[in-house]
Symmetry: C2
Subunit: 117 residues, 2 copies
Protein backbone atom coordinates (compact mmCIF):
# COMPACT_ATOMS: atom_id res chain seq x y z
CA UNK A 1 0.00 0.00 0.00
CA UNK A 2 1.33 3.43 -0.91
CA UNK A 3 1.78 5.92 1.90
CA UNK A 4 0.43 9.45 1.61
CA UNK A 5 4.02 10.66 1.50
CA UNK A 6 4.75 8.55 -1.58
CA UNK A 7 2.55 10.99 -3.52
CA UNK A 8 4.49 14.13 -2.56
CA UNK A 9 5.86 16.12 -5.50
CA UNK A 10 9.66 16.65 -5.18
CA UNK A 11 9.37 20.35 -4.32
CA UNK A 12 7.33 19.56 -1.21
CA UNK A 13 9.16 16.41 -0.13
CA UNK A 14 11.51 18.00 2.43
CA UNK A 15 9.09 18.08 5.35
CA UNK A 16 10.91 17.38 8.63
CA UNK A 17 8.10 15.17 9.85
CA UNK A 18 7.44 13.03 6.84
CA UNK A 19 9.34 14.15 3.73
CA UNK A 20 11.06 11.27 1.92
CA UNK A 21 13.69 13.73 0.61
CA UNK A 22 14.77 15.11 4.01
CA UNK A 23 17.78 12.99 5.06
CA UNK A 24 17.53 14.20 8.69
CA UNK A 25 13.75 14.06 8.99
CA UNK A 26 11.53 11.69 10.95
CA UNK A 27 10.23 9.95 7.80
CA UNK A 28 6.81 9.20 9.20
CA UNK A 29 4.62 7.38 6.75
CA UNK A 30 0.88 7.60 7.14
CA UNK A 31 -1.84 5.67 5.41
CA UNK A 32 -5.45 6.48 4.63
CA UNK A 33 -7.90 3.65 5.28
CA UNK A 34 -11.60 3.88 5.93
CA UNK A 35 -11.54 7.67 6.28
CA UNK A 36 -8.79 7.63 8.92
CA UNK A 37 -5.05 8.08 8.73
CA UNK A 38 -2.69 6.01 10.76
CA UNK A 39 1.04 5.79 11.27
CA UNK A 40 3.38 3.67 13.35
CA UNK A 41 6.53 5.24 14.70
CA UNK A 42 9.21 4.37 17.25
CA UNK A 43 10.82 7.54 18.63
CA UNK A 44 14.62 7.49 18.83
CA UNK A 45 16.28 8.03 22.19
CA UNK A 46 17.33 11.53 21.14
CA UNK A 47 13.70 12.67 21.50
CA UNK A 48 13.84 12.45 25.27
CA UNK A 49 11.76 14.85 27.28
CA UNK A 50 14.53 15.21 29.84
CA UNK A 51 12.61 13.05 32.26
CA UNK A 52 14.14 9.58 31.71
CA UNK A 53 12.20 7.17 29.49
CA UNK A 54 9.64 9.59 28.12
CA UNK A 55 9.26 11.49 24.89
CA UNK A 56 9.75 15.25 24.67
CA UNK A 57 6.25 16.70 24.74
CA UNK A 58 6.56 18.76 21.62
CA UNK A 59 8.05 15.82 19.72
CA UNK A 60 4.99 13.82 20.67
CA UNK A 61 2.98 16.70 19.24
CA UNK A 62 5.10 16.57 16.09
CA UNK A 63 4.32 12.90 15.53
CA UNK A 64 0.61 13.51 15.93
CA UNK A 65 0.78 16.63 13.79
CA UNK A 66 2.18 14.76 10.86
CA UNK A 67 0.09 11.65 11.13
CA UNK A 68 -3.01 13.78 10.73
CA UNK A 69 -1.90 15.02 7.34
CA UNK A 70 -4.27 14.32 4.53
CA UNK A 71 -7.09 13.26 6.79
CA UNK A 72 -9.12 16.11 5.37
CA UNK A 73 -8.74 14.81 1.84
CA UNK A 74 -10.58 12.20 -0.11
CA UNK A 75 -7.82 9.80 -1.06
CA UNK A 76 -7.15 11.53 -4.39
CA UNK A 77 -4.02 13.43 -5.41
CA UNK A 78 -2.24 15.24 -2.55
CA UNK A 79 -3.73 18.52 -1.40
CA UNK A 80 -1.59 21.28 0.08
CA UNK A 81 -2.77 22.67 3.38
CA UNK A 82 -1.48 24.56 6.37
CA UNK A 83 -2.24 24.08 10.02
CA UNK A 84 -4.06 27.03 11.57
CA UNK A 85 -4.14 25.69 15.11
CA UNK A 86 -2.62 22.77 17.00
CA UNK A 87 -3.83 21.56 20.39
CA UNK A 88 -2.45 18.64 22.35
CA UNK A 89 -3.76 17.46 25.72
CA UNK A 90 -1.23 15.19 27.40
CA UNK A 91 -3.16 12.44 29.13
CA UNK A 92 -0.25 10.13 29.90
CA UNK A 93 3.53 10.20 29.33
CA UNK A 94 4.60 8.97 25.86
CA UNK A 95 7.15 6.16 26.29
CA UNK A 96 10.50 6.17 24.51
CA UNK A 97 11.70 3.05 22.69
CA UNK A 98 8.24 1.63 21.99
CA UNK A 99 6.34 1.71 18.73
CA UNK A 100 3.57 4.29 18.83
CA UNK A 101 0.30 3.97 16.92
CA UNK A 102 -0.97 7.36 15.77
CA UNK A 103 -4.40 7.88 14.28
CA UNK A 104 -6.16 10.87 12.74
CA UNK A 105 -9.83 11.30 11.89
CA UNK A 106 -11.70 14.16 10.32
CA UNK A 107 -14.32 15.67 12.59
CA UNK A 108 -15.65 18.23 10.12
CA UNK A 109 -15.00 19.95 6.79
CA UNK A 110 -16.59 23.31 5.97
CA UNK A 111 -15.29 25.03 2.87
CA UNK A 112 -11.51 25.28 3.30
CA UNK A 113 -11.56 24.59 7.05
CA UNK A 114 -11.10 21.07 8.35
CA UNK A 115 -11.03 19.96 11.97
CA UNK A 116 -8.98 16.83 12.63
CA UNK A 117 -8.84 14.74 15.79
CA UNK B 1 24.14 35.35 32.51
CA UNK B 2 23.34 31.71 33.22
CA UNK B 3 20.62 30.08 31.16
CA UNK B 4 17.83 28.11 32.83
CA UNK B 5 19.29 24.98 31.26
CA UNK B 6 22.64 25.54 33.01
CA UNK B 7 20.87 24.62 36.26
CA UNK B 8 19.63 21.21 35.06
CA UNK B 9 20.80 18.26 37.16
CA UNK B 10 22.58 15.64 35.00
CA UNK B 11 19.73 13.11 35.18
CA UNK B 12 17.33 15.58 33.54
CA UNK B 13 19.75 17.13 31.05
CA UNK B 14 18.84 14.99 28.02
CA UNK B 15 15.82 16.98 26.90
CA UNK B 16 15.59 17.07 23.10
CA UNK B 17 14.60 20.71 23.13
CA UNK B 18 17.11 22.16 25.54
CA UNK B 19 19.19 19.53 27.31
CA UNK B 20 22.92 20.35 27.32
CA UNK B 21 23.69 16.61 27.52
CA UNK B 22 21.71 15.58 24.40
CA UNK B 23 24.22 15.59 21.52
CA UNK B 24 21.44 15.54 18.90
CA UNK B 25 19.09 18.00 20.63
CA UNK B 26 18.17 21.55 19.72
CA UNK B 27 20.12 23.05 22.65
CA UNK B 28 17.78 25.96 23.15
CA UNK B 29 18.87 28.21 25.97
CA UNK B 30 16.29 30.37 27.67
CA UNK B 31 16.74 33.16 30.15
CA UNK B 32 14.50 34.56 32.86
CA UNK B 33 14.41 38.34 33.05
CA UNK B 34 11.72 40.53 34.50
CA UNK B 35 9.28 37.67 34.96
CA UNK B 36 9.55 36.55 31.32
CA UNK B 37 11.61 33.90 29.60
CA UNK B 38 13.19 34.49 26.24
CA UNK B 39 15.29 32.49 23.80
CA UNK B 40 16.85 33.16 20.42
CA UNK B 41 17.08 30.30 17.95
CA UNK B 42 17.85 29.88 14.26
CA UNK B 43 16.18 26.73 12.91
CA UNK B 44 18.38 24.53 10.73
CA UNK B 45 17.25 23.78 7.17
CA UNK B 46 16.33 20.23 8.18
CA UNK B 47 13.27 21.60 10.05
CA UNK B 48 11.50 22.46 6.81
CA UNK B 49 7.74 22.24 6.74
CA UNK B 50 7.82 20.80 3.25
CA UNK B 51 6.69 24.11 1.82
CA UNK B 52 9.99 25.76 0.78
CA UNK B 53 11.46 28.35 3.16
CA UNK B 54 9.18 27.77 6.11
CA UNK B 55 9.54 25.88 9.38
CA UNK B 56 7.70 22.63 10.06
CA UNK B 57 4.70 23.63 12.12
CA UNK B 58 5.28 21.22 14.95
CA UNK B 59 8.95 22.23 15.15
CA UNK B 60 7.82 25.80 15.58
CA UNK B 61 5.64 24.49 18.40
CA UNK B 62 8.66 22.70 19.86
CA UNK B 63 10.70 25.89 20.00
CA UNK B 64 7.92 27.75 21.75
CA UNK B 65 7.28 24.81 24.06
CA UNK B 66 10.78 24.83 25.37
CA UNK B 67 11.26 28.55 25.63
CA UNK B 68 8.36 28.68 28.03
CA UNK B 69 10.07 26.39 30.50
CA UNK B 70 10.55 27.80 33.93
CA UNK B 71 8.26 30.76 33.33
CA UNK B 72 6.06 29.50 36.12
CA UNK B 73 8.93 29.56 38.62
CA UNK B 74 10.41 32.33 40.69
CA UNK B 75 14.01 32.32 39.52
CA UNK B 76 15.14 29.92 42.23
CA UNK B 77 16.43 26.38 41.79
CA UNK B 78 14.92 24.47 38.84
CA UNK B 79 11.46 23.03 39.32
CA UNK B 80 10.29 19.91 37.52
CA UNK B 81 7.00 20.19 35.70
CA UNK B 82 5.04 18.52 32.94
CA UNK B 83 2.95 20.10 30.22
CA UNK B 84 -0.74 19.23 30.51
CA UNK B 85 -1.85 21.01 27.35
CA UNK B 86 -0.17 22.73 24.41
CA UNK B 87 -1.97 25.08 22.01
CA UNK B 88 -0.41 26.89 19.08
CA UNK B 89 -2.28 29.27 16.76
CA UNK B 90 -0.28 29.85 13.58
CA UNK B 91 -0.69 33.47 12.61
CA UNK B 92 2.03 33.65 9.98
CA UNK B 93 4.55 31.21 8.48
CA UNK B 94 7.75 30.81 10.52
CA UNK B 95 10.75 31.54 8.26
CA UNK B 96 13.69 29.16 7.96
CA UNK B 97 17.25 30.48 8.20
CA UNK B 98 16.41 33.52 10.32
CA UNK B 99 16.96 33.95 14.03
CA UNK B 100 13.70 33.64 15.93
CA UNK B 101 12.95 35.46 19.17
CA UNK B 102 10.76 33.40 21.47
CA UNK B 103 9.19 34.75 24.63
CA UNK B 104 7.15 33.21 27.41
CA UNK B 105 5.15 34.93 30.14
CA UNK B 106 3.13 33.53 33.02
CA UNK B 107 -0.55 34.39 32.80
CA UNK B 108 -1.58 32.73 36.06
CA UNK B 109 -0.49 30.35 38.81
CA UNK B 110 -3.03 28.54 40.98
CA UNK B 111 -1.66 25.81 43.18
CA UNK B 112 0.20 23.41 40.90
CA UNK B 113 -1.38 24.72 37.69
CA UNK B 114 0.36 27.43 35.69
CA UNK B 115 -0.85 28.97 32.44
CA UNK B 116 1.92 30.28 30.20
CA UNK B 117 1.59 32.44 27.08
Amino acid sequence: MKAIQDHYPPEFAHCYGCGPANPQGLHLKSYLTGGRTHACFTPAVMYSGGYPGNVYGASAAAFAYRAQSRTMGDGGPPLRFVTASLKVDYKRPTPLGQELFIEGARRSLEGRKAIID
